[in-house]
């Protein structure tokens, strides 16, 4: 039960953290130059975004959940189970970020999810 709850926290906090960061980056707008000065300025703006900090907090929670889970369960269970976050990420991208997921992208995400699980189990 303890592991199941922690796995749910890991998947949702991890996905939530990624989505919050993606949302913050979308608010900043496209970066078109990779000059060090431009990237430095971009990082300064990024860390002034509230969503960036929400994302980092959720990622920290996910990381702590991962460490806890790894101390209780086998890695061969934890890592493939965590591949479910590709699916929750796809739903989050569609409903939270408003991305258009074509059947082709859904198929790709599903194949990647199963593939990651197989690589970790193999």
């Amino acid at each position: 039960m303890r592991s199941a709850i922690t796995l749910v926290v890991l998947i949702f906090a991890g996905t939530g953290g990624d989505l919050a960061m993606a949302h913050a980056m979308k608010r900043l707008g496209e970066v078109n130059s990779f000059k060090p000065s431009v990237i430095w300025h971009f990082l300064g703006r990024a860390f002034r975004e509230r969503w960036m900090w929400i994302g980092l907090a959720l990622m920290t929670l996910a990381f702590c959940s991962l460490l806890a889970l790894l101390s209780w369960e086998a890695m061969s269970f934890v890592i493939p189970a965590n591949a479910l976050s590709y699916v929750t990420g796809a739903f989050g991208g569609k409903y939270f970020l408003g991305e258009q997921l074509t059947p082709q992208r859904w198929a790709g995400i599903s194949l990647v999810t199963v593939g990651v699980a197989l690589v970790c189990l193999g």
Binding site: A22, K26, L28, G93, L97, Q100, L111, V112
Partner: protein, 138 residues
């Protein structure tokens, strides 16, 4: 507005950089931890010596630098590309690591793992053939 071809090239290049940095980061962390060895218990003294050993390792620092650069590259690509495009594409790391293990380190890779690598490659190709961005720029 960039021509779609230029945009696709920019996106593919950053995805490739993400995969290289993530694979390198994991490789350096793995190498560093192998050099340090297993944790000698959970006592305060053991944790302190492990902490010192971890942060004295050049491999660990190379891993940290790789992962920080990965984070910056991820933040940059998310300013224009879809999250649902970038996330599966970066999963290529899971395919690169067994390939490196087999062809560079001569490790034995099981049939199940090869099947997983093939599925990841097909999945990434599927996602890669969709437009990188489907939302209006904020």
């Amino acid at each position: 507005m960039k021509p779609p071809q230029t945009h696709l090239l920019k996106t593919s290049s950053v995805v490739a950089i993400l995969v290289v940095l993530n694979s390198a980061g994991n490789f350096f962390f793995g190498l560093g931890m192998k050099h340090i060895g297993a944790l000698q218990g959970w006592s305060r003294a053991a944790l302190h010596s492990a902490f010192v050993a971890v942060f004295s390792s050049a491999w660990i620092w190379l891993g940290i630098v790789s992962m920080l650069l990965y984070m910056v590259a991820l933040m940059l690509i998310l300013t224009w590309a879809d999250f649902t495009y970038v996330l599966p594409a970066t999963a290529s790391t899971y395919a690169v690591v067994p390939l490196l293990g087999h062809f560079v380190l001569g490790e034995n890779v099981t049939g199940l793992r090869w099947m997983g690598v093939a599925l990841i490659c097909i999945g990434v190709m599927f996602v890669g053939r969709t437009p990188p961005s489907t939302t209006k720029k904020g």
